[in-house]
Symmetry: D2
Subunit: 289 residues, 4 copies
C-alpha cells in the first residue's frame, strides 16, 4: 500500500490493429503469472479497425516488479503490434498547472488534489499574472510568475518552456490560461497538455465564447476539456458538459454559471488522464471512465 | 370551459421599449375590469432596452369577450408603444406538420396531440414521400404527398406552398422534413415555422450532423428547435437539449440516441409556441416556460 | 445476417465467485476457436466477491453453432463455477406487454419496436381495460382484454396468468399496468418481469407517486425501471432518470412531465434487458450498457 | 453603487391570500413613485389559494430611502393582508457557516464568497472539530471550535448557540455539519437555517445516505438543500440535484461523486436565499430563481 492507503496497481494501456485473440493473449499472459485484474475495458473501433484496451492489475498479485513486467510484456506486445504503456500507481504523475487571473479552475484542482481526489504531484503553478500566488502557496505549491510580453512573445514562451521543463512534468494543465501556446510547446508535450475551453466545442472556439453564446441565443452553455494541439481549440475532446441558461441570463450570468461547468469538466478530464483512462484515437478519444 | 375541460383564458403577449410603469399599466388595466391573472412573466433585456411580457387571464373574470378586450387594450398598447397579440385558448392554433421518411418526431407529436398534451388542430401532414400516410391517417389527420423533384424544385415548392396555404396554418412544423424551404415560404410564414435540427446548434449546421458530431468526437449530442429563417439553421433558437454518448457509440447509435432528444426538444418547443410562451428578440428568443 | 440486416452474434453472460484468470479462460476458449469478440465487459463486486461478465461474439467467426458452443462452453463453465446463459441474436425474445389505460409507455415501446430499435417479438398486449386495443392492433399485435375484478382477484389473475403463458413470453413488461401482480406470477417469471414505476425509487413507492412528490415539494421527479419481485416496488433497479420541475408545476404538470421520463427509462431498461446487458446482483443490478 | 459595483436595489417579497389586483396594486404603488422594476415574479398556488411575489426595484429610481419605502408600503400591505419583507442589497446578510471535518462545501462557499459570487458577510465559521481553522482563516474569517461532547450535548449546544448568537447571523448554513441541531436552535432561527443533505430526499434521510444508496442500488445519487426544522431532514426543500453512477462505483466513489453535487446544490440554495428568491409555502418552497 502506498502512503495514502491505496493499493498499488499496474495499469496497462494499449492499442493495435484489431484481430482475434488480443484479450485472450493479454489476459492469458497476466493469468499465467497470477495477475489479479481488478478492472479491464476494451474497445474496437469499427471505422478504423483499431483496438484499444486498458487493464488494471494488483501489483502484489504478480511475482515481479514493473521492470520485469515491462520486459515480459514486451514479448506479447511485439506479437500483437501493440502501442502500449505501463503505469505504476505508486509513481505519481507530475502535473504543472498554468493559469492566468481567473482562479476557479486552479482553486478547484488544488482543493481536489489536497483532499486526495487527484492522485498526482503538483510541483508548480505558473501564471502570466502574479495574482494567484497566495492560492498556490497556501496549498504548498511553488508559484512562478512568467509574464507574456505582447511584443516579445517568442522570448516569453521560451522562458515559460524553461520554467515548465525544470519541473519535469508528465502533464501540463491549462486551467484557464489565457495565452495560446506556441506550436513548439504543443508538439513537445503532445498528448500531455490538457486545456479547458469555456464552450461546448466545436461551437464558439476562440475568444470570448460566453459572448458568442449569448449573441447566438443558445439555451445551454458548456465547457470542453481537450488535448492541446497546434490548431486552436481543435484537439481531441476528453470530456464535455453543459448547464441550462435562459433569456434572463446576462453574459455575466453565463460567466458565473459556466465556471461550475468548467471546473467540473476539467477535474473529470484530468482525473481520467491521470488514471490512464484516456487513449487518443486520431482526432477523437477513447475514455474508459 | 372548452370541450377538453380546460378553463378558457386570454393570453396577452407584448414587447415595447422598456420604461417605468409598464407592468403597472397593464395589470392596472386588467384589474380595473376584474381580470384574474393566473400567470404572468416579464423580462427586460438590458442589452437592447426592450421589454417583454406575457399575461394569462381567466376569460370568465372579464365582463367582455376577446373583441372588446382587444379594442380596449389597444388604447393601453398605443400609449406604451406595444407590439402585442391576444390569443384565446378556445381558438386552437392550426398546425401543419411536414415530414419526410423518419417518423419519430411525427409520431411523437401526433401521439401528444391525440392525448391532449398539445392543444391545437392538426388539419394536415405533408410529406415529400408517401411512407407516413398510414401513421397520419390512423390519427385521423389528412395526408398529402408532395414530392420535391430535384429538377423542378421551384414548381414543387409552389405546389407545396399551395397545399399548405389551403390548410390555413397558424404554425408550420418541420418534423424532420429533409428539404430546405425556399426563401419565399420562410418569409411568408416568418416566426411561424418551427424546425428541429439534429445537432446542438451552432455546431454541425447543415447536412449529416450526426456524422459531423461523430467525426469531431464530441461527448454529447444534441438537438435544436428554432424558428426557420432564410439562412439555413440560423434562426432564433427556442429550445435545445443533449444526451451523453461515448466512444463505443457508432453513427447509428448517435442516430438512435438523438431521436429521443429531437422529439423531446421539438415537443417542448412546439408546446411553448402554441401557448404563446416564445417571443422573438432579434436573433434570440424570450421563452416564458 | 438476419432479416433486419443485423449481424448474428452470440451473447454469453455469466457470473461466478471472483478469482484469477476468469477473463483469460473465457477469452482463451473463444480465441482458440477463432471467435471474434465485438464487445466485452466485466465487473468484480468487491463487497460480495462475485464476478460478472458479458461477451458478444460474431456467430460466423466460430466453426460451430449455438448448441455445440453451449456444450463446449459448459466444460469451461463447470471449472469456473459459472452461472451462465447464451443468447443468440437470431432468436428474438418474446415480450408480452401489460398496460392499463395510460398509453404513453405502450405507444412508445410499440413505436420503437416497429422501427427496429427494440429487437424482439411482441406477440401480445394484455390490459385490464379495453381502451388500448386499437393502438396494439394498428401495430399488428394481438390484444387481450383481461379485466381484474376487485371481488374475484384470484380468479382474474389466474386467467391473466393463462393468457400470458399461452404467449410463451421470455419477458413481461408492465408498461404502466396499474395492478399489483400476485406473488405467484412474480415468482414464476422471476428476473423476467420489468416494471416502470413513476417515481425515483425508493422515494414515493406505492400509489400516486406524483401526488406524493408534489406534497413533499421535491425539485425533480423521476421514474424507475426495475425487476418485479413479490415486494412492491422493491426489486432490483435497472435504470432511473429524472426531470426538473418547479413550484409552478401542478400535479397534472408532474404527470405530463413524468410521462416523458417514464417512457425513456422503460425503453432503455427493456433494451438493455433484451440485449442481455442486465445481470442481477442480489438486490442490485450490473448493467453493461 | 456599492463597493463591488453592483447597483443598489430593494427587494420586496410578499405572500397573501390570492385575489384580483395584487400585482396591479403593488406595481401601481411602485410606478406612482417612479420605481424602476428590474425583475419581478409571482406565483399563485392553486391548492392553497396563496399568492407569492418578489419584486426587485432600482433604489435610485425611488425618491425615498428604505425606511420611507417601508412605511409607505405598509399601507398597501395592510390592504392586501401581505406577509412581506424588504431587503436592501446594500445591507449584506450575515452568514454563519457550520462545518465538521469534510471541507468541500465550506471551501466552495468561501471561494464563491471571496470571488463575489455570494453577496453576504461571513463573520464566523464554527466547527465541532479544529481541522478547518486554517481554511477559514486563510479566507479571513474567524473560526470558532465548539466541540459537541456526547455526554454533555445540552451544554455543548448552549455554548454553540451563544457563539452563533454573538455573530448576529441572518442565516446559518450547515455545510456538512454532522450534528443534529436541538429543537430550540431550529425554532430560534426558523426559516433561516439551510442544510445540505447528501441524498435526494426523501430517500435516504438520516445517517450514511451514500451507504443506503449503494445498498438500494440506485442509478443516480443526489443532494438536497433544505430549511432545517425540528424534524430531521424533513424541512422545505430549496434545491436538489443528482449525478449518475453505475454498478462499478463503490461507496467511496459515491462519496467522491456526491461531493460535487452537494456543493453545487448548497451554493445555489444559499445564493437564492441571500437574494430573497426563496419563499416558504407550508412544507414546500417557491423559488423565483
Amino acid at each position: 500500500m502506498s502512503e495514502d492507503g491505496a493499493v498499488r496497481r499496474y495499469v496497462l494501456t494499449m492499442s493495435c490493429p484489431d484481430r482475434t485473440g488480443i484479450v485472450a493473449t493479454v489476459s492469458g499472459f497476466l493469468a499465467a503469472h497470477g495477475g489479479w485484474v481488478i478492472e479491464a475495458a476494451q474497445h474496437g473501433d469499427l471505422t478504423t479497425g483499431r483496438f484499444f484496451q486498458r487493464v488494471e492489475v494488483l501489483a502484489d498479485s504478480l511475482p515481479f516488479g514493473p521492470e520485469e513486467l515491462s520486459q515480459r510484456f514486451e514479448v506479447v506486445a511485439r506479437e500483437l503490434q501493440l502501442d502500449w504503456r505501463l503505469s505504476d500507481t505508486d509513481v505519481r504523475k507530475r502535473v504543472v498547472l498554468l493559469a492566468s487571473r481567473e482562479d476557479h479552475c486552479l482553486a478547484d484542482l488544488l482543493h481536489r488534489w489536497r483532499g486526495g481526489e487527484l492522485r498526482c504531484e503538483i510541483p508548480l503553478v505558473v501564471s502570466n499574472h502574479p495574482d494567484l500566488r497566495p492560492l498556490a502557496e497556501w496549498h504548498g505549491v511553488e508559484f512562478s510568475h512568467v509574464p507574456i510580453a505582447a511584443d516579445r512573445k517568442e522570448h516569453s514562451f521560451t522562458q515559460l518552456g524553461d520554467v515548465i521543463a525544470e519541473a519535469s512534468p508528465d502533464v501540463i494543465v491549462l486551467a484557464r490560461y489565457m495565452q495560446v501556446l506556441p506550436e513548439q510547446l504543443c508538439d513537445e508535450y503532445a498528448g500531455r497538455i490538457l486545456n479547458i475551453h469555456h464552450s461546448f466545442l466545436p461551437s464558439f472556439a476562440g475568444a470570448k465564447p460566453y459572448h458568442q453564446a449569448f449573441a447566438r441565443g443558445v439555451k445551454l452553455i458548456g465547457a470542453t476539456c481537450h488535448y492541446v494541439t497546434a490548431e486552436l481549440d481543435a484537439g481531441p475532446i476528453i470530456e464535455q458538459d453543459l448547464s441550462r441558461i435562459d433569456h434572463a441570463d446576462t453574459v455575466d450570468d453565463l460567466v458565473r454559471i459556466g465556471r461550475d461547468v468548467e471546473r467540473a469538466v476539467l477535474a473529470r478530464g484530468l482525473r481520467w488522464h491521470l488514471e490512464d483512462r484516456v487513449l487518443v484515437n486520431g482526432s477523437r478519444t477513447v475514455v474508459f471512465a
